[in-house]
Symmetry: C4
Subunit: 216 residues, 4 copies
């Protein structure tokens, strides 16, 4: 097994998920009142789509960074990655659910926001499992030194805890869930992978010689 | 011809199939009664989607492992692989069919479950053909020794036989088909490819030097 | 520019097209009469989908073989390839059109079959243009010798001419169009790329050392 | 990080976007009047899809050329690229919106054309940001010499300015927006990337030895 297919399969899943998200950006169309009204009616839905796109984008960037340091590909890793992807592909349908129910305002909108949060919670736990897998000696190059593991684990606990709050706050107001979810993505935008935490290497890696040694 | 495109094309098909699966996870939406009721009504559908996702995931992992040992790419291999993919892309529509008919409970639900089983049967036979192709001398590195071929063939007969049972049991209860299909995927979760059966090499392969020699 | 992205982009387009094809394999669903009747009603549609899948599969295999011999990637090649892909992505919608109109039997079914043929005609001309691009000295390794070029051109004229017949015969019976389209794909199943015509190299290329030199 | 995944993810997004475009090429189907009439009714929609396909194709070709010269992959680059992709995935839904409203002719068609223009404006600004990122010393190989940077910037201002005109002209006639959008794509069809402007290297790069040094 090599890392190439793991990356290609994951990238394709991320790419399809992100494109299908946008495909749901539809209005009822001609014969359902003025287009202006239809568009205004959906501003909450558009916000939901934007936050979901941003979330998938950030996950992709961090997935990219995390996997680029992995030097061993085991069957277990493939399955842990599948758990993450299971929840990534759920993002378009839960976003659509939220977008459909946000304008209705009733209990349905609270429940839809909670389900949206549950989808992101699963995604977040999936990523934390992937990070956990990389913490063992010899799985990444360079390995994460033992005294850095706790910091890495704590960092990846932020998402699961914050999404739990997002699920709970769905029953106060659905937009709170969206806001918290966006905040989590902002937090991980500036994320560094565990192997980079010990620093010194800088963020940029020259494409030239290094990629010849990288697994693809 | 090289193995790269065979893997990329297959990965993209697996990825799109798996994402489209989730896209069908929809409820009727606002104006069709309380969301809670709509969600409860679809628990069987959700189970079907979960089992189909798991099935495609396991096939992808095993496809990955099987192809990584192949050193010769022939036109025949590409077509055998297409037979497998033909049935992989059928998994989303047959899952949708089953999900639509499961709650109806009548003969339609039995028939839909049988068709779901037929789709997986085809997928399973497709994979067995792919394994059969690899058993010939010189096609994989290392080759499967002659005395191991029967064991490999028997192992890949389990799927086709179990899915036949799943098709038959669809006419007792549709959930039996689902349960048996899930059991098959559990069985192949712990699968090793023929070239690994003789063991000794371990499951993990270091990314560093080896992938330079692997076809991508 | 390198060949990698040309292949990845093309593969992804082929993969999405092939998966979307199957996604259209739906029946009206519960509440539209017995499922058995719905399924029988659509046997022509199922045949259309099968032939379209087979067609895209054969094009993918030949595209794979043709590109694997290319050693120069120019901007013009990328655009010629886009012409091919433009028609590949049209195959799912024209197949859906044909599948929708086949059971109606009237003039609509003849017209739909003709449009299906036009889509495949475009695809076929796109591939012929790609072959034409490769015939110039130094673009493939090995180059196609001048005395072989006429044979290659004739071989790739078979598709465009046969699809013209398929379009015409749509107005006799739509299934004639389908039958002819299937026959074209059978013909190209056994196709060899121009650079292979002069033979001697055999079909199988060892993955080991060669793929290191191939562009990906 | 290496360039490979950036390219694969982008390619997959482009590929899915381009295929989903075509998927929307549907007519109402049987029971909605003669097929001939349905098809004629949609010639404007078909034109919109063709122009959008061409636009995505040209962006893909230029993205390909631009990235092939990049030798440093930073986190910032990944996010700039995500901005571009955010608008690429919006092209199918805004094209569908335009296609739905073009035949209605009223204010809706003007507004839909303006939104179509806004989608392309975003896409164009995203690409200009990507070009801007590459202009810094040492990010591409060869680097863009300082005296060439202004020319590169001006060249990539043409798109954003032209799409602003396209948005404005939507309120005169929606087809003006489409025409201008098509013209922008024609302009960039003959585009050269900044690193090629200083010329001398020619457009064609041999696949053989060079791709070994390229990042994938």
């Amino acid at each position: 097994m090599n890392r190439g297919r793991l990356e290609i399969f994951s990238d394709a899943v991320f790419a399809v998920a992100v494109t299908l998200l946008a495909l749901n950006l539809t209005v009822p169309g001609p014969g359902h009142g003025p287009l202006t009204g239809q568009l205004i009616h959906q501003w909450q839905a558009f916000t939901a789509y934007l936050i979901s796109f941003y979330t998938i984008g950030v996950v992709w960037v961090n997935h990219h960074a995390l996997l680029s340091s992995i030097v061993v590909v085991t069957r277990a890793l493939l399955f842990v990655n599948l758990v993450l992807l299971l929840f990534v592909v759920l993002i378009p349908p839960v976003t659509k659910l939220l977008a459909d129910y946000l304008p209705t305002g009733g209990f349905g909108s609270h429940l839809a926001a909670a389900i949206y949060g549950i989808g992101l919670e699963g995604r977040s736990v999936g990523f934390a499992l992937l990070v956990e897998w990389t913490l063992r000696e010899g799985r990444t190059q360079p390995s994460v030194p033992p005294d850095r593991r706790l910091a890495a684990r704590l960092r990846y606990l932020v998402g699961p805890v914050a999404y739990l709050l997002a699920i709970g706050s769905a029953f106060i107001h659905p937009l709170l869930t969206l806001g918290l979810s966006g905040a989590v993505s902002v937090y991980y935008t500036f994320e560094r992978t565990p192997t980079r935490i010990k620093g010194g290497r800088g963020r940029a890696i020259r494409g030239g010689s290094r990629t010849r040694h990288a697994a693809r």
